[in-house]
């Protein structure tokens, strides 16, 4: 890892100022992506601005409308929260299958969403549950937040403070993990919300997480696994790599969506 300067600001304003003053700075949360990238010398920020010391950045609040999770909340805390498990069980279950226990003890929801890895789990939750990303500047609806591979609507110096998830009527997430990395080869979140069924697919799309319109249409008519028998996602829009062909990913997407419908009950 190249040399870098570490900062631990105590407020959002100080963090923004520290990043602005840096030649080529980056925010740091759990480091489970950023430090690994720096060790491989794929990133070499001159400055690291650690967001974890800022009061109010972590913690979970659950109310009648839904669940709000502070950006610096670690995956393990979301997974183990009885309040999250009661309000949106799919969300706690999703968090409990990210990486491995040590990764879940450091990795944060804010870091995961800022990174927007096309095979990450949380993007499926935010898009599928119609979540809102709350930053130091604005509130970004899921639909506008995810822009492409490792790309989001975040501006330079914009900090995710929290993520809000409205309560769905029912929801479930199913992931087919890539056996070595545990990232999603394909992951599907199915949610029945007040505004109809939403199906978000991660791990598969050439542009990152996306909504499967054909699945949603079928499930809006009939919320049953059988309703998806003849629905499909277009393999032309899916990733092709050494792990899976686009056709295989399309197949997994339907099977996992059907399992999610059953699991949602």
């Amino acid at each position: 890892m190249y040399q870098t300067k570490y900062h631990r600001p105590a407020s959002i304003d100080d963090a923004v100022a520290a990043l602005a003053a840096a030649e080529d700075g980056k925010f740091l949360s759990g480091g489970q992506t950023l430090l690994a990238t720096m060790k491989q010398r794929l990133a070499a920020p001159t400055d690291l601005v650690d967001l974890r010391g800022i009061p109010g950045m972590s913690g979970i609040t659950v109310d009648a409308d839904g669940v709000t999770i502070g950006a610096a909340t670690i995956h393990a805390d979301v997974a183990a929260s009885p309040e999250v498990a009661a309000a949106i069980p799919a969300l706690a279950a999703l968090a409990s299958h990210i990486g491995d226990p040590a990764v879940r003890h450091m990795g944060t929801i804010g870091g995961s969403l800022a990174n927007n890895d096309p095979a990450a789990d949380y993007p499926a939750a935010v898009l599928g549950l119609n979540g809102t990303v709350i930053t130091n500047q604005r509130e970004i609806p899921a639909e506008e937040y995810f822009v492409g591979l490792f790309t989001t609507a975040l501006e330079e110096g914009e900090i995710i403070k929290a993520v809000r998830f409205p309560r769905p009527k029912r929801a479930a997430y199913q992931k087919f993990a890539q056996p070595a990395s545990r990232f999603a080869l394909v992951g599907v979140l199915v949610a029945e919300t007040d505004d109809g069924v939403r199906v978000a697919i991660t791990g598969a799309g050439s542009d990152g997480v996306f909504r499967a319109g054909a699945f949603e249409a079928a499930l809006n008519g009939d919320f049953s696994a059988g309703a998806l028998d003849s629905a499909s996602v277009d393999a032309d829009d899916l990733m092709n790599d050494i792990h899976a062909t686009p056709e295989y990913r399309a197949h997994l997407a339907r099977v996992l969506a059907q399992r999610a419908v059953k699991a949602a009950g």
């Binding site: 480091g31 060790k39 690291l48 974890r52 183990a80 491995d100 990764v103 450091m106």
Partner: protein, 165 residues
């Protein structure tokens, strides 16, 4: 350089280190606690697992300077006055190691999972142990004896907690 102070295995330590020093480098090179191993250096293998504030983390993927004030426990810190921790005894009894390279990380991960499951009142089944070992790779044993060792130690660690009450 930044001055960082933490408590390692119950002892207060303080060093001036370059900001890019990883926790595992701090432990091994500054404190000479070489029981914590570096297997992959890419966050995959778990040989570097230690406890920070009571939770298992990969010490190759955290900066020492970010852990100001933290309590760190390494494999050197779990025996009590020369008496091995039940997890260490169980790895010995069940032949849970061959070359031993992964063992410090396995033992720290094992203690962490037992503590978490017992705190949450959840049953640490064989399936759960295998799920929890996701981030710890062993190139020798084939895992069966590691799973048996953790299962055995889990029983003794409950006894330990009861005896202490």
């Amino acid at each position: 350089m930044t001055k960082v102070s933490m408590k390692v295995n119950g002892k207060a330590v303080s060093r001036d280190v370059p900001d890019n020093t990883l926790l595992v480098e701090f432990l091994r090179e500054q404190l000479r606690l070489t029981g914590t191993h570096v297997g992959c250096d890419t966050s995959q293998c778990g040989a570097c697992t230690v406890h920070v504030n009571g939770r298992a983390i990969k010490s190759c993927t955290q900066l020492a300077v970010s852990l100001e004030g933290a309590e760190v426990t390494t494999i050197e810190g779990i025996a009590n006055d020369g008496e091995l921790h039940p997890m260490q005894v169980a790895f010995n009894d069940h032949h849970g190691l061959q070359c031993g390279f992964c063992t410090p990380g396995m033992i720290m991960a094992g203690i962490d999972m037992v503590n978490r499951y017992q705190a949450q009142g959840k049953d640490l089944t064989e399936e759960a142990i295998r799920f929890e070992l996701e981030g710890n790779l062993c190139r020798c044993t084939g895992y069966h004896n590691i799973v048996k060792a953790i299962d055995d130690a889990a029983g003794k660690m409950t006894g330990m907690a009861r005896a202490a009450e």
